[in-house]
Amino acid sequence: MDFFTAMRISSSGLTVQRTRMNVTASNLANVDTTRTPEGGAYKPRHAVVAAIPVAQTFGEVLADKLHTQTTGAEVVTITADEGPGRLVYDPTHPDSNQDGYVEMPNLSVVNEMVNMVTANRSYEANVSAMQSLKQMAKNAFEIGA
């Protein structure tokens, strides 16, 4: 256990939140997308986050198994929401079906905004954690000075 472990943990958290932010940005950018390369309306994406051990060396892995359980976080996959899209009546739209309905992406702008704000706050929390540990390292360097 050293200061760099804490930095690795916090940076894994930062990466997760940044990825979530990218996913949200992608969803918001495609809120009205009705045409995609795979066909049909845009499918909203969701980042799946999992806890992963941060141990690097054998000793650390062993210590992790025996004793502490410090884990970083990681986006393991990004899934597409396969739910049916919202149907909006717009017969003049080029992507409308024979009944005049257009399939819009199955995403809620409000949900995405909430995700964005929480990702932002979680990012800040991880930055604070890293700064706190940096300050501790600085204090350690001052020993005997």
Binding site: M1, A6, I9, T70, A125, N126, A129, M136, I143, G144
Partner: protein
């Protein structure tokens, strides 16, 4: 146990180790603030550390010869405990952001206190070595 680096000095070192490790654990909780099903952990100053501080012998072992290994626990470990009181939210994650942030700053302050204490002790030692600073 030498005069310069006595039990008190070692204790401060242990407390620095402990706070560093606790900082790591809190960082891990914050990194997993959005991980479904994650239960936050915390470290507790352990019984072993207490035993180390009071120099108590573990039960059933006695030191009858100077060459015997020390029966004092010289590597106190902190106990990891799961925070069972936190209520999980919908995805099973029970990290309380405010709680973790306050623990984080508390930990930082304690670390600062320990390093300051260590420095003061060293300054005192220096003072004694230089015979009260009067050369």
């Amino acid at each position: 146990m030498s005069v310069l680096f006595d039990r008190l000095t070692t204790t401060i070192e242990r407390s620095l180790d402990f706070q560093l490790e606790r900082g790591n654990v809190i960082s891990a909780n914050l990194a997993n603030v959005d991980t479904p099903g994650y239960t936050p952990t915390d470290l507790q100053f352990s019984e072993q550390l207490h035993r180390y501080l009071v120099g108590e012998m573990p039960r059933g072992i006695s030191q009858t010869d100077g060459q015997h290994l020390s029966t004092v626990v010289d590597e106190p470990r902190a106990d990891v405990e799961f925070d069972h009181f936190a209520l999980p939210n919908q995805d099973g994650n029970s990290v309380d952001l405010d709680h973790e942030m306050s623990k984080l700053s508390e930990n930082q302050i304690k670390y600062r206190a320990s390093t300051t204490f260590y420095n003061k002790r060293m300054a005192l030692m220096k003072y004694a070595i230089t015979e009260g600073g009067g050369q």
